[in-house]
Structures are given as C-alpha cells and as structure tokens.
C-alpha cells in the first residue's frame, strides 16, 4: 500500500512568533486537517483493493480508489485555500472529482464559473479583499487562452492567484480528437510573460514541492499569479510513490528597505520645503494604511493616492489626491511608493501629437520605494517609460513605511518638527477647499437625465452610509474616490490593473465573496460594456449566494473609444458624428435588469430618472442584506 504522509519537518517550531508568518502557521494547522478522515477511509479501502487496480482499463470491475488527484487535494488543503474557481474541463476531471468527494468540497470549495476569465478575475478581486489567494482550475489550452487576459490583469495589479491547468503530456495516452486539440507541449508558454513562476510536475512528489514553492513565491511581494500544470495521467493514475511528503509552508519575510537608504530618504524628506508622497500599489492591509498616515503626519506631507489600493484615508486632511498636478508642480522632493508609472507622474503626453509636458520641477528629487526591479520581464510593457530616481530603493513599500517613519523622527530636530506642525492648518484648509470644489463639480447636471455619474455615486453612498461597506471596483467612476469618506483599507479595492475589460463584474464578485463572512456590505459601480463580456458571473453570484449590489453605470457604449474615434475624425478632417459606429451599444439597447433576472439575480431598471435611483437602491439593498446579489440598471451620462 502506498500512502501520503506529512513531512517530519512539520514539527519545526517558532513560526507563530513572527507576525509575517501568521498565514504559514494557519496553513501548518491545515496540514493536519488535510489528512482527513476521508484520507484514512480511502487508504483503508486501498489496502483491500486488488493488486491489479487501475491496470486493466478494459475491465468493468476495475477501480481506482486512490488516484493521484487525491494527494493533490491533500497538498492544496495544507495551503489553507478556501475556494477554487473553475469552469469544468476534462483535463482536470480527476482533481475536480477529488475536490468534491474526497475533499468534501470544503477548503477548497468549488466555485462554478461560466468563463475562465471570470474564474481568474474572481480570484483576483478575492485576493485583494481577503489578503489570501484563491485557486483556479482551467483547461491547459482553450481554458488558459480564455484565462490569459485576466491573468495579465492580476499580474499588473500584483494580485496572487494559484493557477492550475490540466494537460495531457503523454501523447500515447491521449484520447483521439478533442483531447489532442486541447493538449499542449508547454501550456505555461502562453502566459509565462505574466506569471511569476510555473512548473509542470512529473510526479506527485514533484507536484507537492512545486505547489508549496509556488505558493511561497506568489505570496512574497511583489505578489503575482503562479501556474502549476496538472498532468492528466498524474491525476488519474493510482498513487504509486512510497513516502509521499508535503513540504511545510513557510512564507518569506517581505524585503524591507536598507537602513542606510532609509536614513538618506529621511534626510531628503525632512529637509524638503514641499514634499509629496504618491502611493500606488503600496498597501495590502489596514496596517499599511495606518503606517502611511503616521509617516504623512510626521512630515505634514500631502499624499496623492493613485487609487489602485486604498492607501490613505480620503477623510484625512493630508489626502490631497485631487490636487495632484499642483502638488507635483510645487514639489521639491517626491516620495513614490510602488508607483507603476513614475515617468507619467512627473510628465504628461498630449494625444495625438505626443507632445511631452513637464509637470514637475526639473530639479525635483525623486525617491522611489518599489519592488519593480525584482519582477521585470521584457515582453509586456507594463513597466512604463523609464524614470530615473535620485534614490531608488528596492524594497516592499508597505513593510518599509514604519522604519522610514522612525528614520524621519530621528532626523527631525525640535525646531524642524515645530515648523512642520505649523503646516497643518494650511493643509487642512487645502483639503477642505478641495472637497468643496469636488462637491460643487458634483452638483453640475444634478437633475440630468440620463443620470450624471456624480449623482449616481452620491445616491449609492447615501444608500450605504450607515453600513460597513466596500466598493469592490473603485476606478470606473472617479466620484467615489473624490468624495466618499474612506478610512479603511477594505473600502476601495481599486481596479483591474491592466485595464483589460471584463474584470469589473467578476472581480467585484470575488471581493464580495471575501467580504461575505466579514459582515461587509459589498457594492460596485458596474460598467455595461464590461458586463457584456461574461455576464454568466451573475449566475455564479446567485448560485453561490454571494451578496453584492451591482449598480449599473450604463452609458450604453464603450465611451473611451467614442472619444478616440472623435479625435481621429477631427484629425482626419472627417465627420465626427460617426464616432458611435462600432463603439456605442444601441439598437437594441441591453436590458440589464432582465439579464440579471435571467441568471437568477434580483434586477430592476433601466432607470433614467435621477430621482428614482435612491428608492431602487433601497429595494435592492434589502435583497443584498438577505444574502443574495441584486442589480439596478441606471442609464447614465457617458462619463
């Protein structure tokens, strides 16, 4: 009899003494749980099984009571994975069955998806909200092809996802026909440019080691997706290897900035007259938000949050994100924290003539704390135009904020500290003025029909203001970031990362799933064009009882592209009225309320009267609070 057993290394102690290894400690506990009663039952059954088990595939009385995929479930369970999102496929049928029956469909629970792009985007949104990854199963060829854009989104957005792709390596064992067209020599090749690591294990032991390795690499900042290919035969054949072991998971400590570099940064910041902090994919938790508040307050330094994460409270007087251009123009020192596009933060480029306009002073000093240098690949160009830094620090920004704050405190003399404190009143006034300016702008077109995006956002906030809320996708309309009073990391979950359309709906479902058990009410402003990509995710939300309010930002078109067409028509001295051809969604218009209903989701609309939005939201929120998804379709202004 063969069996899987835990590594003797599991007895190693000391993990729980270190905060950053909390996840590993949890996973270690799960290792024991993984060796479930089901395992013992299966092993007992296997002991009684005939020696010829699995060998005679023509026999009707032959069984495989302990397939390799059972051991794969054991491995996945040690990683404390709660969910696996998947659209079913034959190349992982054995693992699918093992998850559901052998694993009891718990940790991980199978999430039924209707598109691989949805599976990955659900996992992407979930990872940001839950602070832990989800697994995704897909077909190696057509499934991974479907999944690829969503993986790229996650890659750019620094979201960890444990990807598995089924594949048949041994050509002599492939069934003729479709199984051949769905098998690949090197499946990972098609996504290797935008996953952090991949492997194609040739044995179960190899699978265990590579999956645990992949998990650790994925979770070590910069976090990103990883891919393990699952050979069909490895899944479906009986376990033959003796002494299979599951390696202990221990996460790596995030790389903190060099002490001397932080001291130099502190000198530059404390000596600056007009420092500015720009935070992008910096924060991963409330701990990071709180740390950034302390740094900003110590320096009395305004913060510009790019919105890819909720880095800094919108309610804080040092949040001057909507005064970005002025701040950058005035700055003598800029501290960037994991900013994706440093060049574009200091310059702008016109369209279509590509004329470069310098925004920042020529002699501005730039400090950048980023892990971008750790994860550069050359093919996909998400690294943006090169921007030299006066002080480049390769380190995890969130981890480095607190020691930077301490370094700043050490540099501050009593006099300088008092000078900085004196800036607070001016900053508070600037913040108040900024908010008033935004409110005045939001009032324009207040009674317009179609409904203005400012009104839509204000109505939504008004409906949820008494709740513990989260806006699942917070970059499709600028108004919530401008106006909503944020203070918690979970309140705004950013966007897709790579602007690959199709993320918003499934990404929001992933966020809502993570929030479901935390008692956080999840809402999202859902673009119509995005929902048209893979609306089946509405069914996934209904089927798995994931409460979320989709408030449609239905502008009936791909409006960014309308603008591009207008620009081209103007440039070419041709008719701008044709810009809606190929860009607007009309004749017929999509009825999203009915679409939702067709997938088993509460839906109403279309609503064009701005005064009807509030009451509709109240009705839909009752449904969401009962534990189900709901959708309200509002016809909006184009932007």
């Amino acid at each position: 009899m063969t069996k899987a057993r835990k590594s003797t290394q599991d007895d190693d102690s000391g993990l729980d003494r270190r905060k950053f290894l909390k996840g590993a400690a949890a996973a270690g506990a799960a290792t024991a749980a993984a060796m479930t009663a089901a395992t013992k039952v299966a092993q007992a059954a296997e002991a009684k099984a005939p020696k010829t088990e699995g060998a005679a595939n023509m026999r009707g009385d032959a069984f495989i009571s302990r397939p390799g995929s059972d051991f794969m479930v054991d491995v996945i369970k040690t990683l404390n994975i709660d969910y696996v999102a998947s659209n079913p496929a034959s190349s992982f049928r054995s693992l699918h069955e093992s998850i559901v029956n052998y694993g009891g469909n718990k940790k991980p629970e199978f999430l039924t998806c209707m598109h691989e792009e949805s599976s990955v985007a659900i996992a992407h949104g979930y990872a940001k909200a839950a602070g832990k990854p989800m697994a995704v199963l897909c077909h190696s060829s057509v499934g991974l092809q479907h999944a690829s854009m969503a993986i790229y989104n996650a890659w750019v957005d620094r979201a960890p996802i444990l990807m598995f792709a089924g594949n048949g390596v041994d050509a002599a064992k492939r069934r003729p026909g479709v199984e051949w067209t769905h098998c690949v020599q090197d499946p990972a090749a098609m996504v290797r440019d935008f996953v952090k690591w991949d492997d194609q294990p040739g044995s179960l032991q190899h699978f265990a080691e590579s999956t645990v390795r992949a998990y650790r690499m994925m979770m070590s900042p910069p976090q990103d997706p990883v891919l393990i290919t699952l050979d069909i035969d490895l899944q479906e054949s009986p376990i033959e290897e003796e002494k299979l072991t599951i390696p202990k998971l221990s996460l790596s400590a995030p790389p903190q900035a060099d002490e001397r570099a932080l001291r130099e940064a502190a000198k530059m910041l404390t000596g600056a007259s007009n420092p500015v902090i720009i935070a992008d994919r910096c924060v991963r938790s409330q701990e990071g938000v709180d740390a950034l508040v302390k740094l900003a307050e110590t320096l009395q330094c305004p913060v510009v949050c790019n919105g890819s994460r909720m880095n800094f409270p919108g309610t804080h007087y040092l949040n001057l994100s909507e005064s970005r251009a002025g701040l950058v123009r005035e700055a003598d020192v800029i501290l960037m924290l994991e900013v994706q596009d440093p060049w574009g933060s200091l310059q702008s480029m016109g369209d279509p003539w590509k004329d470069v306009r310098r925004v920042a002073k020529q002699n501005v000093k730039l400090i950048h704390i980023t892990l971008a240098d750790f994860l550069m690949k050359s093919n996909y160009q998400d690294f943006q135009r090169f921007q030299p830094a006066d002080l480049a620090i390769s380190a995890d920004a969130q981890t480095s904020i607190a020691p930077l704050t301490e370094a700043v405190k050490r540099e501050l003399s009593g006099t300088r500290s008092a000078e900085l404190s004196g800036k607070a009143d001016a900053m508070k006034k600037r913040h108040r003025d900024m908010v008033e300016r935004m409110k005045t702008a939001a009032a324009l077109g207040w009674e317009a029909s179609p409904v203005s995006t400012a009104r839509l956002s204000a109505e939504l906030y008004n409906a949820i203001k008494g709740e513990n809320w989260a806006l699942a996708v917070s970059d499709r309309i600028a108004w919530p970031k401008r106006l909503w009073p944020t203070s918690q990391y979970h309140q705004m979950m950013g966007g897709s990362g790579a602007a690959g359309v199709g993320y918003s709906a499934p990404g929001a479902v992933g966020v809502a799933l993570a929030n479901r058990d935390k008692g956080i009410l999840t809402v999202t402003l859902q673009p119509d064009g995005d929902l048209c990509y893979a609306p089946g995710v509405l069914w996934t939300a209904a089927h798995h009882k994931i409460p979320i309010l989709f408030l449609m930002f239905n502008n009936r078109g791909y409006v960014q592209e309308v603008m591009h067409l207008q620009r081209m028509a103007g440039l070419h001295r041709r008719d701008p009225k044709t810009a809606k051809v190929g860009t607007m969604i009309y004749d017929p218009e999509v009825d999203f309320g009915k679409l939702a209903q067709a997938f088993g989701v509460y839906g109403e609309g279309p609503i064009s009267d701005p005064n009807a939005v509030g009451p509709a939201l109240a009705r839909a929120l009752k449904v969401v609070k009962s534990g189900a998804p709901a959708l309200v379709d509002v016809v909006c202004q184009l932007r």
């Binding site: 016109g350 324009l444 077109g445 203005s452 995006t453 001295r573 701008p576």
Partner: protein, 115 residues
C-alpha cells in the same frame, strides 16, 4: 489644472467679444451637441465628466473663447472645422449652453451633505 488654465485663458481671450455671439436655436444646439458626440466628454448638460480630461463648459463661457476652442482647440480636444460644423451650428450650441438651467448649490443637495 491644465483644463482649468485653458478655460481661464479662453475666458480672458473671449471676454472682449462676448457681445458678438450670434443668435442661435437652443433646441437645435442641444440636438447637435449630442449628435456631434460632444456629450461623451462634456455631458448632456455641459457638466463635464468624471475625469479631469472631461471638463465642464462653465456658465458664462464667452462666445469667442468657445469658438476658439472649437476650431483650434488647445490640449487634447479634436478640432471641429467649419466644413463639418457650420457657424450656425456653433451659434446654436452656444445658445443651448445659455439655456441650461443653473445647477443647485452643493449645500442645498442633501446627498452631497454626506461629504
């Protein structure tokens, strides 16, 4: 900020010529504003979009500044030549802007008091 500067420049440039605005049809101007897809950036009520690159057309915008920006735009707005958008079309749209009811003050909107 760039947009604000452009608008300010246009306002200054056009101030002396505000009285030159020709008579136009607000009703036709509203229709043209939509047909020409101006609403994709500026909104049906000239309120602007949700991004900085989509500015409102403020009440009191001067005629000459409006014409200048339309015919020879600064920054990223496409040009609208006379062969495609006639002088009368421009006058009609200008009349439409003049007919748009002023927005309520933010302080008078209950939903905005949350912020």
């Amino acid at each position: 900020m760039r947009i604000a500067l452009v608008l300010a420049a246009s306002l200054c440039a056009g101030a002396a010529f505000a009285q030159d605005a020709p008579k136009g049809s607000a009703e036709r101007g509203k229709k043209l504003f939509a047909e020409l897809n101006c609403i994709s950036c500026h909104g049906t009520h000239a309120q602007g979009g949700g991004r900085n690159s989509e500015p409102p057309i403020p009440a009191g915008y001067p005629w000459q500044g409006f014409v200048n920006q339309l015919r020879k735009p600064r920054l990223d707005m496409p040009p609208y030549e006379e062969k495609l958008v006639s002088a009368q079309d421009v006058a009609d749209m200008f009349a439409y802007f003049g007919s748009i009811k002023a927005a309520p003050a933010a302080k008078d909107i209950p939903q905005l008091r949350n912020f």
